[in-house]
């Protein structure tokens, strides 16, 4: 959003102001970056309290499509620069304009590597997305991307609830690829109902039911613990990095908001680094 656009919005507001006295508080706030920043500060306060979020340039990056092909399935990649990886304890993901903005928190255990985290999320409207790295001593470093996507939280899944729940909890684990040693993708079958999806024919809402915790460990050591929310897409795909360990298998434990839980083990892809 450049100056130009902001100015045009302000101009439109000035034209409208005389007619729409009722809307003047909105106009006073302005449709600008400053208003989005205000919302972010409000969310930051709710999530992190008094702790400031410093500019994370050089430490954390967030890759997001400028325009999402599917608002219910927006791929995000968060990376931590190599020299900072050892001091990162967690990564928080905040989708500012989603009704439930705090989309995920990923905590890294001793067997984890914060180098990369890939998630697929629902985005409800054109919004800033914040990725915030938390250091082991509690400092916060953030970065932001603007994503054009709309209606992701309420988008119907496209099949009946029964079909969407078939095979719920089934998992697969794939190595990320030959060029990405030490990375893998965990796929979990789960509709991750947002609670905002309406069946258009019955006009009833499918109750929220989502993965609230996914813990990946190897040999008793945590790799990654992901606290999720309704903003994660159905059939979550979690891309993560890990450190070579002595164990030869990952154990994955997933629980959902209805109290169901699933556990599976997978051989660890060969790690030659």
């Amino acid at each position: 959003m450049g100056m130009n656009q902001n100015r045009r919005v302000v101009c439109a507001g000035l034209v409208l102001a005389p007619l729409l006295a009722i809307a003047s508080p909105v106009l006073a706030a302005g449709g600008t970056d400053s208003e989005r920043e205000e919302r972010w500060q409000d969310l930051r306060q709710s999530i992190f309290g008094e702790r400031p979020v410093e500019d994370g340039a050089g430490l954390i990056t967030l890759e997001a499509p400028a325009r999402a092909l599917d608002a219910a399935l927006v791929p995000l990649t968060i990376r931590i620069a190599p020299e900072h990886r050892d001091r990162i304890a967690a990564v928080h993901l905040v989708i500012d304009d989603n009704p439930s903005p705090y989309a995920a928190k990923a905590s890294f255990g001793p067997a984890g590597d914060p180098a990369v985290l890939r998630l697929r999320v629902r985005i409800d409207g054109y919004t800033n997305v914040h990725a915030v790295a938390e250091t082991k001593d509690g400092q916060l470093h953030g970065t932001v991307a603007f994503v054009k996507a709309s209606g992701g939280c309420s988008a119907p899944i496209g099949v009946s609830d029964e079909v969407a729940m078939q095979g719920m909890g089934e998992m697969k684990l794939r190595p990320a690829g030959p060029d990405t040693q030490g990375e893998a993708t965990l796929l979990i079958r789960h509709p991750n109902f947002s609670g905002m999806q309406m069946n258009q024919l019955t006009r009833t809402y499918t109750p929220a039911r989502y993965l609230d915790l996914v813990r990946i460990s190897q040999g008793g050591q945590t790799v990654l613990e992901l606290a999720g929310d309704i903003s994660l897409s159905s059939d979550p795909a979690i891309g993560f990095a890990y450190r070579p360990g002595e164990a030869d298998a990952f154990t994955v434990l997933a629980t959902d908001s209805d109290g169901a839980s699933w556990q599976e083990s997978f051989p660890i892809p060969a790690h030659t680094q």
Partner: protein, 191 residues
């Protein structure tokens, strides 16, 4: 030539002609206007027209905004899922075109008489009773709500009703949108 062959020939002619017909009469290929308010699923393909109103795109809206316009947003409000844990951070925000008035869900085709009265009454108030007020209705793309409201306004006697099917997403292609609050007194409480 047998009757069957004749039929087949006709079918070929008809099929060959279809693209031409579709190209010359685009409205025929689209969803037809319902005779009254639409009460089916609220998200889906909408008609290309709204009798009695003008269908506009964003550049046309920009021109309108050089004068006085009453922008009316009937996008739905985010609904908190009943079973969402209490400690979940829930902070819905509704963004709209700057200056717009928002009647969440006001585009329903099956509003109660009280709701319809409250809606039209408030719009009449905002328009200061002037049926020549320039009105623009919108919600999201593929949303029947703004079509319905346009229909209601035409039926209520407004002479300058405009419908923006591109909705808030279309607007945001060019401009930012601002958070808005629902209009006071809307929706009216159920008795």
């Amino acid at each position: 030539m047998t009757a069957a062959t004749l039929l087949r020939c006709w079918a070929v002619v008809l099929l060959a002609g279809l693209p031409v017909i579709a190209a010359t009469l685009p409205a025929m290929a689209a969803v037809a206007e319902p005779p009254g308010l639409w009460t089916g699923p609220m998200v889906g393909e909408t008609p290309a027209t709204l009798q009695g109103a003008t269908v506009i795109d964003v550049p046309a809206l920009e021109l309108l905004l050089e004068g006085q316009v009453l922008l009316i947003d009937v996008g739905k409000a985010a609904r908190r899922p009943d079973n969402l844990p209490e400690d979940t951070l829930w902070k819905p925000v509704h963004r709209s075109i700057p200056g717009a008035v928002w009647f969440p869900g006001g585009g329903g085709g099956d509003l109660s008489p009280e709701q319809a009265q409250a809606l039209l009454g408030r719009i009449d108030e905002l328009a200061k009773g002037d049926k020549d007020t320039v009105l623009v209705t919108f919600c999201k793309p593929s949303c029947w709500g703004s079509w319905n409201l346009g229909k209601r306004l035409v039926e209520a006697g407004y002479r300058k009703v405009h419908w923006l099917p591109a909705g808030i997403d279309g607007w945001q292609e060019f401009h930012d949108a601002v958070p808005v609050q629902p209009q006071p007194g809307w929706p009216p409480a159920d008795d």
